[in-house]
Symmetry: C2
Subunit: 338 residues, 2 copies
């Protein structure tokens, strides 16, 4: 035991995201293989739709966090691989359903699955993946895992429903926005961190720290992501610029702008929000206003605040290369510029 | 054949569906209350959508079978009430998603939920209900229940996907049809019967009998139900007559008809199947052909065969009023004429 701990702790700490990815490369590969193994449905359409999304990229952020948090406690079993695949099943299921709900045409720079196989297949394959996630999780016979997983899935759906309710609704506050992104995004990221702790044998207080680390990191991630809808290089974003605006999704930059701009500008924005089509020049006007009023910067500053909060949550945990890796992750999720 | 052995059990055996409903009335009421309790979401829209469907009727067939099969083993706990609600959560979730996938306008004689709240809310509240089902089930800390539940949810989605694949596809065989209805309908009914056995402490062989009883009963139910799409009294059906045909769903009566009719009639039917609109006179022609070739009768005969198979599965179980009730259920599911 002592020797093992020493070995782990003498391993060099990562100093960049590239090094983090290198350290956990093997585990991530095992997760990929686990996913492929579990997805050998006799129904070709299911495999087709899932592989399409799987192959279109994605950062495997949730499996990675689960692996890293399990390693914090020197976990050496195989459950992190199975649960890593479970995270990806759930995440993919939500993407499939979200794209139908949002009527999205692009996802990660490719046609959304619903544009290739239709809404019907996207809904049903999403349902299949939710079930598949539970089958894999239940096999571990860990009641705590089952309970956390099912509760998180409920919260995810509640987040999406809240987002639907607040579509084109300017009574929405920053608190409502925070609530929505906590539910629809941060809850699953928090789950990944908690599950790593559960299988690693973390104490109750440590689990709570991991849960809050993941929640804050998830909020930071989504806040930064929401700015990209207005600022990204078109070719790198992988979806249409201004897509959130077109879908009537009010995100933090817009909330800030609506508070700061003149009444006349406010009416103009509301008007643009309610029209079915958003011409390029209108989007440019929005982008200019977001710049002029510092609304993008405000959102990025808030993302930074939550990233710092996330890091703070790890302060009670002992130093290790894995903890250093998690701190790097907290910086990374707000540093993407595409 | 129904044999009534009252020597051991002093409670009288039911002799009709009305008596069955009376015997389990209290438990069904407890299930209804359990459902209402679990569904006090802070998000009003979720409660609204769910109550709408809940109040629109439904036979509570799955909770009833679960209660009855648990009673077969003199079960006296409260898990049958919780699992009864789980069955109804899953069933309602599938109805919400099915209606979106089928673009259905009516359900149980009322506007489908998607026509009131939209496809988006129907998809997301469906997701919420799936999660809710798992939360309730997981709380029982019974691994066998979790495993059976998650596997069945996977099979349900596979059934819907198979049905989608075979839409307007005349290469479909009777075996394909059987496969689809086993997956999309009978599997959940079979699960209800198995779960009753699991909590009642049934032996492995008894569980297998219950599983097959439920599967055959479910197939019989769906086969009979599929004839109603062509034969029901319009006002009693609660959905549009000929709806399956309009949606391109090939059911047993149509499969039989296509095998028996002339090549000319066959082309005519295929042609009608591929047009977007089905005029009343075309539906009447189909109904006439189904009558002339005995296709409705064939499907009803097959339903009867599966109902008998279901009853046969109970022969190894000791006589009791509950068993008599289950035998009545097997007759009831094919005897509905609306």
């Amino acid at each position: 035991m002592v020797t093992k701990n020493k070995t782990i702790h003498t391993a060099p700490s990562p100093t960049s995201m590239e090094e983090v990815l290198l350290i956990y490369q093997e585990d991530i590969l095992s997760v990929e293989n686990q996913i492929k193994e579990a997805l050998s449905s006799q129904i070709g359409l299911i495999n087709d739709v899932f592989y399409y999304i799987l192959k279109s990229g994605g950062k495997r952020l949730r499996p990675l966090l689960l692996i890293m948090t399990s390693r914090l406690f020197n976990y050496r079993g195989t459950e992190h691989i199975i649960l890593g695949s479970v995270m990806e099943f759930i995440h993919t299921a939500t993407l499939l359903h979200d794209d139908v709900v949002d009527e999205a045409s692009l996802r990660r720079g490719k046609k959304a699955a619903r544009m290739v196989w239709g809404n019907q297949a996207s809904i049903l394959v999403g349902d299949y993946l939710f079930s598949r996630a539970f089958i894999e999780a239940v096999r571990l016979k860990r009641n705590e895992v089952n309970l956390l997983l099912s509760k998180t899935c409920q919260i995810l759906s509640e987040g999406e429903i809240l987002q639907l309710i607040y579509t084109r609704n300017f009574s929405m506050t920053e608190k409502d926005y925070l609530n929505i992104i906590e539910f629809k995004t941060a809850s699953l990221i928090s789950l990944a961190c908690q599950l790593g702790g559960v299988i690693g044998g973390a104490a109750e207080g440590e689990l709570e720290s991991l849960s809050r680390f993941g929640l804050n990191l998830g909020v930071a991630y989504q806040m930064a992501d929401d700015t990209l809808d207005y600022t990204a290089e078109k070719d790198l974003l992988g979806k249409t610029l201004g897509q959130d605006f077109r879908e009537g999704k009010i995100t933090l930059p817009i909330l800030h702008l609506m508070l700061k701009c003149t009444p006349k500008e406010k009416s103009k924005i509301e008007e643009m929000f309610n029209q079915s089509h958003l011409p390029e020049k209108d989007l440019e006007l929005i982008q200019d206003l977001l710049g002029d009023y510092g609304s993008i910067q405000y959102a990025l500053d808030q993302a930074e605040v939550f990233s710092q909060k996330a890091k703070q949550e790890l302060s009670s945990l002992p130093s290790s290369p894995h903890k250093d890796g998690l701190l790097i992750m907290a910086d990374y999720v707000i540093a993407r510029n595409f």
